[in-house]
Amino acid sequence: MNIVILGSGRVGATLAGMLDKAGHSVSVIDFSSDAFQRLSPDFRGATFVGNGVDEDVLIRAGIKEADVFVAVTNGDNRNIMASQIAKEIFRVKKVVCRIYDPIREQTYRELGLGTFCPTTLGAQMIFDTITDKKQK
């Protein structure tokens, strides 16, 4: 699969490495080239410096041929805008958008955007650990 990842932070860089190892074609976008240092040294994918809500940058990173788009920058709103550009303008089939704010995440999930909220997921995991529920 062709996969475009926006944001080369801890999550983005780790995910890029995993997908690359699994044999997918991965390109990573970040507005700071320093961020690409987080990628593993044997990462074979492409990296692009630029603003993820800029259509030209997305095109350069191969969004037109992408099967999957993942937005994991630090900004909820940046992720939301980039994901909607990927979904509504470039018609990428699978879009995954990280949103830290639970209320905002719910709003956009209801609108049909593929979203996940690390805040509620993390809180739930801790809650389950404390209350001794089995995790799976």
């Binding site: 259509e55 709103n77 939301i80 303008i89 704010d101």
Partner: protein
């Protein structure tokens, strides 16, 4: 009208003052502590400290009874989310967003924002209008109709000069609505002649714009 404005920069501040003067109920949201302090000294209860991107904040300020939401922060992604959340969650009828990057205009339109305003683009065309060499200025875009209002200064060597409008071969997709000649406004009829250095205001669609250039002999 109840109007909520997100972002207390210069635009948000002057907009709030202006709309208050027009007698509207206005609420300005600013998230920065020190900027909020400055604003509240002048605007009093019309400014509230909070992030317009947060649904909880919007609920507290009564977004569901707002008639209009205007997002004028310095970040386009924030402006987009403010307007979308207002529309989808609070069913606000009209959303207006400031565009910091004029390139985002199409995206915003596709994503359901009612009106976008790009200060960058407006300033560019205003400055262009003031340059002595410019013969052609885009004044306004009516997005829903796909029309533009443009201004043309008739070049002295234009093939249109000294002919009444009926004799000119104007493109169908354009309509001359006003002629300004030596500070006089003329609403043209078929008999109205066109003179050199007239300022012509025309309503055109995209094809009409180019055809009108050609008709007036203007090369960009």
């Amino acid at each position: 009208m109840y109007i909520i404005i997100g972002g207390g920069g210069d635009i948000g501040y002057y907009l709030t003052k202006n709309l208050l003067n027009h007698g509207h109920e206005v609420l300005l949201l600013e998230k920065g502590a020190s900027r909020y302090q400055t604003l509240s000294e002048e605007l009093g209860p019309a400014v509230v400290r909070g992030d317009a991107c947060e649904a909880r904040t919007m609920e507290e300020v009564g977004a569901s009874r707002a008639d209009v939401i205007i997002a004028v922060t310095g970040d386009d992604e924030d402006n987009l989310v403010i307007c979308q959340v207002a529309k989808k969650r609070f069913k606000v009828g009209r959303t207006i967003a400031r565009l910091n990057n004029p390139k985002h205009s199409e995206v915003f339109q596709k994503l359901g924002i009612d009106v976008t305003v790009s200060p960058t683009r407006s300033i560019l065309s205003l400055i262009e209008a003031e340059l002595p060499s410019s013969r052609f200025v885009q004044l306004m875009t009516l997005k829903k109709a796909g029309l533009e209002i443009i201004e043309i200064r008739v070049p002295p060597d234009s093939p249109m000069v000294d002919r009444p409008l009926r004799d000119t071969n104007l493109p169908r997709s354009s309509n001359i609505v006003l002629i300004i000649r030596e500070k006089q406004s003329i609403f043209p009829t078929a008999e109205t002649p066109i003179y050199a250095n007239d300022d012509i205001f025309a309503l055109v669609n995209r094809e009409g714009e180019e055809a009108l250039h050609k008709a007036f002999g203007i090369i960009e």
